[in-house]
């Protein structure tokens, strides 16, 4: 395959591919390959979704491929943990034999759940720890970055409307651009720097919500520099303002949300089974209809009034609202039927194309906008009451007061005035109100919102993220920006999906397996199928460490609380964690890094798949070398709402003993199978035979198979796709998926209510042609946008209260609210006299990806040392000058960073960098204890519902580093192992030692 892997010879090749210098934006790039060597990479202008952007770290990342310190072989340790591991080169065979043996030993002795998997955010091809290692070991335990990154937003989106609901279609171009807790100029977080700059310039108004002045925020018309960690309060206040000025999109809220449903507070929750986004088996195709919700749906109970509560034999999937017009104007109940997704008396049909408005014609964003079908309610004589209490009689004859969900929302924000907000956030109340009104007021005649909220990372990392994120989601829903033009649309839908080619064939998640066993589809010796009692996800997965404290986590099955994982490693509580595997995660990304380090040192067996040594790899027993993005083939689809479909295409030959992550995954399955685990079976894509073959061949299989079943997959062979991409560039999901992605307001068309995954996600109900029927609305239990989320009511409140009676007050929890995070300045746990400065972290460094690239010369020379942004007034008080080293300290630890005088952050607040370690310092710590901010976190400061850690708004003490208060009298951090000083200036000659070495890969 010469075209793929240019061989030696004096030729120049241009390879169109997708940069993976980070794990975020899918930037299309051109790689120039000269004599088989990648010499530069440049933004590809066909990459409309990133606008041809190619950031600094992406351009520099070719230096990683040829790095002298790259890991080129499997390695095993020869010294005890905590010392320099004394790595010794071994063969793949030896590595895999050892791994199979050790994991089998652990499983035999302690059970599969004593193994945990670890992953960061990393690359799209490190999916093992997020899903299929869980299947392999039969463990629900994973330490993954989504806990503090995307997870809170995805999960809150999932339980209230659709997976990843906050994802905004920035490239559409919002009229009013609201940038909330994000700075994509450096993060390129699902939208590139170029997209951001274009759209902030094109918008009429730009509002930036960020405690510190950012590179993009400096251009905002409104800069709301709230106190770090108080986003929830601002969002509640905006809700208050929207209600006060009556800027609610009533047609949407009434027609497509459960805001009108009636809550019966004093009713024992009742219910049944409901389809929802994660219902295993939910999904149907023309030839295989989904089992009915009654059988496979998720078991939920709610205080929302249902037909089953009022009528003997009524359905739990018919919900009541109050129709003011009923009974000749006296009012009465009206039903929303989840099974048909229809309001009583309506017969909604999907609008046709010509009933839709064409938006953004002639651009990459061209799409169809259906009208809101509110008129159907009017025609059916329904006028939903949103405010008042009504008496209802239940089937048992008892009378109760019921009132609409919306009235709870109104009540919850009644006191959240701008003045109240100012008290908490420190913002000017007039500015808060003006900005909100500007955003939420539509120009005359505009039928859709002014643009969604570009909600990104910051609120995920506040110790009350569940409620803060919900509060912000409410804003999107209330203003009709949900799946609207430039609105919050969720994740790109595509017929191609990178992960689909990586999963181990017909192997499947534990909860799906449990259901299939229960349905009798998978026969298991000694197990009697019981189709009427199919287990729930949460039932299968509640052996997760931390499920007792955070029940929703066992349902979501993405992460277990990081701190609980470390505790289980150290203390064996609730059961011991003994080993596991890290594929692209860093232990110093949340919780507390010192705690994590101790925990890792306790494990019996730990495997790390990596490209470079890292403090984390130095705690492994075996390291497996993976490949660089220049060396592999992988399909790439926008993970945000940008709609790009393309490919990371091999540009150079992989070196030495390295392997692609997906191939390493397969080897892991194989070795477990060889050691007797039935979970280790890996089948081919079609699921009808052994599938243990190289990933390139799997890609071919994938195209062959999927092009047969899905007409949207128009490439019969992998090579067809590859060539199409090389010649014609990035593919627009809006064009090839006009229904699933190219149309807005898909709740109107039936194309939003489907399973989670882009590719395998299937409609809940469809006809024999595969078109949606009775499938309007969202993939939620009520099929509507849920201001009163059933899943939240069940898991976060009722189940939590069952485990710990009295833990939560239902009414307080059901509507978003602002409780200060426990380990924040208002949490009452930290002595503010001792720790007076409010620290935030996380702002992205343009040349690093978290802990990555610190050894790339082009990156490190640009940003040599960790910096602490401080207001000059604070610095002066503390006797700190620009460039001084300062200690940052909490009760939990202290680290040093270098002071940067920054008027862009208010007095009393500061901003530190995260993920620092120093590759120039020796193993095993590589200096992570010196500057890594995660060393000072309170590991118990998590969000009370979903455990995400608090790292924005932490009270700390800051003081000057002096020879007297530094180890060995050295103010500039030095290795604890041998005193080597860190690199902290571009002129450090050690940087040159990291320049590419082209020979190693040949020799090795």
């Amino acid at each position: 395959e010469d075209a793929e892997a240019p061989s030696r010879g004096s030729e120049i090749k241009r390879v169109r591919t997708c940069c993976r210098g980070c794990g975020k934006m899918e930037c299309g790039v051109w790689v120039t390959v000269e004599n088989g060597r990648a010499i530069k990479s440049e933004g590809d202008q066909s990459s409309f979704q990133s606008s041809g952007n190619h950031c600094g770290k992406g351009q520099a990342s070719i230096q990683a491929a040829y790095h002298p310190d790259r890991i080129y072989h499997p390695l095993k340790r020869t010294n005890p943990k905590g010392e320099d591991p004394g790595w010794v080169r071994i063969t793949w065979d030896e590595a895999m034999d050892t791994i199979g043996e050790k994991f089998t030993e652990i499983i035999d002795q302690y059970g599969g759940q004593s193994i945990f998997n670890m992953c960061g955010t990393s690359r799209q091809w490190v999916y093992g720890p997020y899903c299929f290692y869980k299947w392999l070991f039969d463990t629900p335990n994973a330490h993954v970055a989504s806990e503090i990154c995307k997870g809170p937003r995805r999960l809150m989106g999932s339980i209230t409307s659709v997976d990843g609901a906050p994802w905004m279609a920035l490239r559409d171009g919002p009229r009013v651009y609201v940038q909330w807790g994000t700075a994509p100029e450096n993060s390129n977080y699902d939208d590139s720097c170029r997209n951001l700059v274009d759209q902030m310039n094109n918008a009429d108004v730009h509002i930036c919500i960020d405690p510190r002045l950012s590179g993009s925020g400096k251009e905002a018309d409104y800069w709301l520099n709230l106190r770090p960690g108080t986003d929830g309060a601002l969002a509640l206040c905006w809700q208050h303002i929207i209600l006060k000025h009556d800027l609610v999109d009533w047609e949407f809220v009434k027609r497509w949300s459960n805001a009108s449903f009636l809550v019966v507070e004093d009713m024992e929750p009742t219910g049944g089974r409901y389809y929802e986004l994660f219902t295993p088996m939910a999904g149907s195709t023309a030839d295989s209809p989904a089992p009915p919700a009654d059988v496979v749906g998720t078991k939920l109970k709610t205080r929302l009034l249902k037909e089953s509560d009022v009528v003997e034999g009524g359905s739990p999937r018919k919900f009541y609202a109050w129709n003011k017009n009923a009974n000749g104007g006296q009012g009465g109940l009206v039903l929303w039927d989840v099974d048909t997704t229809q309001w009583e008396g309506c017969n909604h049909v999907a609008p046709t194309r010509d009933q839709m408005e064409v938006m953004y014609a002639g651009t990459s964003q061209e799409g169809y906008l259906p009208p809101i079908s509110y008129n159907e309610l009017v025609e059916a004589g329904i006028d939903l009451d949103m405010h008042d209490s009504h008496e209802v009689t239940l089937a048992d004859g008892s009378k109760h007061t019921a009132r609409p969900v919306w009235s709870y929302l109104e009540e919850s924000v009644a006191d959240c005035t701008p003045e109240w907000c100012a008290e908490i956030t420190g913002l000017d109340p007039a500015l808060v109100e003006e900005a909100c009104v500007v955003w939420a007021t539509r120009p005359e005649g505009q039928t859709y919102g002014n643009g969604g909220i570009h909600l990104q990372l910051a609120p995920d990392q506040i110790g009350n993220c569940t409620q803060s994120v919900r509060a912000i989601l409410h804003l999107m829903y209330m203003t009709g920006n949900f799946d609207g033009p430039a609105g919050n649309r969720g994740l790109t839908r595509s017929p191609l999906d990178e992960q689909a080619t990586g999963v181990p064939g017909s192997n499947m998640p534990q909860e799906v397996k449990a259901q299939l066993i229960s349905l009798g589809v998978i026969p298991v010796e000694g197990v009697e199928p019981d189709p009427m009692n199919v287990p729930d996800r949460i039932e299968t997965l509640s052996n997760m460490v931390s499920a007792d404290r955070f029940p929703l986590l066992a349902y979501y099955n993405e992460w277990s609380d990081a701190t609980r994982i470390w505790n289980a490693c150290i203390e064996g509580d609730p059961y011991p964690l003994k080993g596991g595997i890290n594929e692209s995660g860093s232990f110093m990304n949340m919780s507390n890094a010192n705690l994590a380090w101790e925990a890792l040192s306790k494990l019996d067996f730990w495997v790390d798949i990596n490209m470079f040594h890292h403090p984390g790899t130095e705690m492994a027993d075996i390291i497996l070398p993976c490949q660089h993005w220049l060396e592999l083939n992988n399909i790439r689809v926008s993970q945000g709402a940008s709609g790009g479909i393309g490919l990371t295409q091999r540009a150079i030959e992989p070196p030495a003993d390295t392997k692609f992550d997906y191939d390493i995954n397969r080897l892991l399955f194989e070795t477990m199978e060889r050691h007797g685990s039935p979970n280790g079976t890996w089948t081919n894509i079609a699921g009808d035979g052994p599938g243990a073959y190289h990933h390139d061949d799997r890609l071919e299989d994938w195209f062959q198979n999927n092009s047969k079943t899905n007409p949207k997959v128009k490439w019969e062979h992998w090579e067809d796709f590859r060539q199409d991409f090389q010649e014609n560039g990035w593919i627009n999901a809006k064009e090839i998926e006009p229904d699933r992605w190219g149309t807005y307001r898909r709740f109107e068309t039936g194309w939003m209510r489907m399973g989670k995954d882009a590719c395998t996600g299937k409609l809940f109900t469809c006809d024999e042609k595969g078109e949606p029927v009775n499938n309007f609305g969202c993939p939620t239990p009520t099929a509507l946008v849920e201001f009163w989320p059933l899943l939240f009511e069940n898991y976060c409140v009722d189940r939590a209260n069952e485990i710990e009676p009295g833990r939560y007050d239902l009414l307080h929890e059901m509507m978003p609210h602002f409780d200060e995070p426990a380990s924040g300045p208002g949490g009452g746990q930290v002595d503010l006299e001792e720790y007076p400065i409010i620290l935030t972290t996380g702002r992205r460094i343009p040349v690093y990806f978290h802990s990555e690239h610190r050894q790339l010369p082009w990156c490190r020379e640009l940003w040599p040392a960790p910096r602490l942004e401080m207001n000059p007034a604070d610095a002066e008080k503390l006797g700190l000058k620009q460039g001084d080293w300062a200690w940052i300290e909490t009760e939990w630890g202290k680290v040093r960073q270098c002071v940067d005088l920054y008027h862009g952050i208010a007095p009393g607040w500061a901003n530190a960098e995260h993920a620092w370690w120093f590759p120039e310092l020796p193993a095993p710590t590589h200096g992570f204890t010196l500057s890594n901010i995660e060393c000072i976190w309170d590991p118990y400061g998590q969000d009370t519902h979903i455990s995400s850690h608090h790292m924005r708004g932490v009270p700390v003490k800051i003081y000057k580093a002096t020879p007297e208060n530094c180890p060995d009298g050295k103010v500039i951090p030095c290795a604890p192992e041998d005193g080597t000083q860190i690199i902290c200036d571009a002129s450090d000659p050690r940087l040159k030692e990291w320049l590419p070495n082209y020979d190693i890969r040949e020799e090795a």
């Binding site: 000059p872 460039g883 940067d900 200036d985």
Partner: protein, 290 residues
Amino acid sequence: MELQWPLILFTTLLAWAAGLFAAQCVWALRGKGARAQMPALITSAVLLVVGGIAVFFHLEHWERIFNGFGHMTSGITQELIAIVVLAVVMVVYFVYLRRGGDEAKVPTWLSIVGIVVAAILVIVMGHSYMMASLPAWNSLLQIASLLGAACGFGPATMALICAVRDESSDLDAKANLIGQAVNVVLVVAYLIAMQATAGSYTAVEFWFDPTSPTMDITPDGSTAPFSGASLAWAVVAIVAAVAGLGSALAGRAKGDWKVWGAVGAACVLVSALALRAVFYMTGVSIYPFF
């Protein structure tokens, strides 16, 4: 800027060479120190050559000066021309001296030409450092300070050589007093002028260069000779210059120019080197951010 020792030596030695040559011309005009003329000329020529060699240590590719050297607007080119002219004048001077034997006499016109050319060399040399980008350098007093050094060097060295050749005269004292006084005045004047450029640098209160996070941006006084690291050098420059004047006074009082001439020349050397050190330390661009 870092101290450029080859250039410091070059300018100092050239000022010395030019000063000595000019001084011997003055002596010749006054009909003094005939037997000192030849040794003085040789000394001056040696200083010129040593200075010239020093400068090569500054060049990274001196071999390339043979292809395409000579861009006329360049101070270096002008310097080179001035050096060549001075060397020619020195050769002519040498020829006249040889002809005159022990009673060396050079024509008046030649002495005058010698003085003028020597002065021009020093001026051209100083002028090549007049750069608009470097306020501390961009001063006529910078040139004058080199002339000052020449004025100090010349009489002191000449008096010394005369003393060695047993030819002391009243000119020794007179010329040394004037020369050393001029040097003191010009050293001090240039230092004051440098200090006065403080306001001409572009200033931004808060700024940041990502590549140097540990850099302190508070002004460190590096543009002012009387502060920071350059203060000590500035003091040395003045003290040594004043000591030079002292040596002239002592020489006049004691008449022992073997000692006081040597001391005087040494003082000027120390003063000139120190002043040049200050010159590089304060050589900060008007836009000191890159």
